[in-house]
């Protein structure tokens, strides 16, 4: 798992992950690249991350992937990420395509639902919590 201040260097990350697994004999490599869309007048999105819980979440996914003979990777941006640049890359390597196609889907969806990352719209330099696009994590409401 890799965290970076600001936009991700998408090509460097894609290529390095490819090289790292070059002799691992995986037949399928599926990255998911998330790019900041220009919409609603934003100039950037900004992110807070709670790293200890994110690392634990990622480690559990790595175990799930290993049980399928696969590997997962993840990189995410911290702080401001301008529109049309990348904030998030995840990837799956697997011997076979079906495992890879199913794993990238469940991995990315669980990431959206349960990775402890908070998103803010940046408009005129001001940071506003993207509350209406945010999802309560599994188990929310325990203390209510």
């Amino acid at each position: 798992m890799e965290l970076y201040q600001g936009s991700l260097d998408t090509k460097e990350i894609f290529g390095r992950w490819l090289d790292e697994q070059a002799s691992s004999n995986y037949g399928a490599y599926i990255p998911f690249v998330g790019t900041i869309r220009a919409e609603d007048g934003i100039e950037a999105l900004s992110f807070d991350i709670y790293e200890p819980v994110l690392q634990a979440w990622f480690d559990r996914w790595q175990e799930k992937a290993q049980a399928l003979g696969a590997v997962v990777k993840m990189a995410h941006a911290l702080g401001d990420v301008p529109v049309h640049s990348s904030s998030y890359i995840s990837a799956v390597f697997s011997p076979k395509r079906r495992v890879a196609l199913e794993l990238i889907d469940t991995f990315v969806e669980d990431f959206k639902a349960n990775a402890p990352i908070w998103k803010y719209d940046v408009i005129n330099g001001e940071r506003m919590y993207a509350e209406n696009r945010s999802t309560p994590m599994d188990g929310s409401g325990l203390l209510a």
Partner: protein, 73 residues
């Protein structure tokens, strides 16, 4: 003493309290009007592990984290 920290957009400084269980933490946090809008949509981690049981017994030095709705990616 246990420490309560409020993550991301909650924007509230950490606090310390005496509490034997997460149920105690819940009772005390519900007295804080600034948290009313948050508690029903926040998840909870104890010492950085997600938890989902109010009867969990706390010990001195434990850290309870309050995690509001997320949107990574």
């Amino acid at each position: 003493m246990i420490k309560i920290e409020f993550l991301g957009p909650i924007g509230k400084a950490s606090i310390q309290m005496e509490a034997d269980t997460l149920a105690d933490v819940s009772a005390k946090l519900k007295e804080d009007a600034s948290l009313t809008q948050w508690l029903d949509k926040c998840a909870v981690a104890l010492n950085d592990t997600m938890v989902n049981d109010l009867s969990i017994v706390l010990k001195d030095g434990d850290k309870v984290s309050i995690l509001p709705p997320v949107c990574g990616g």
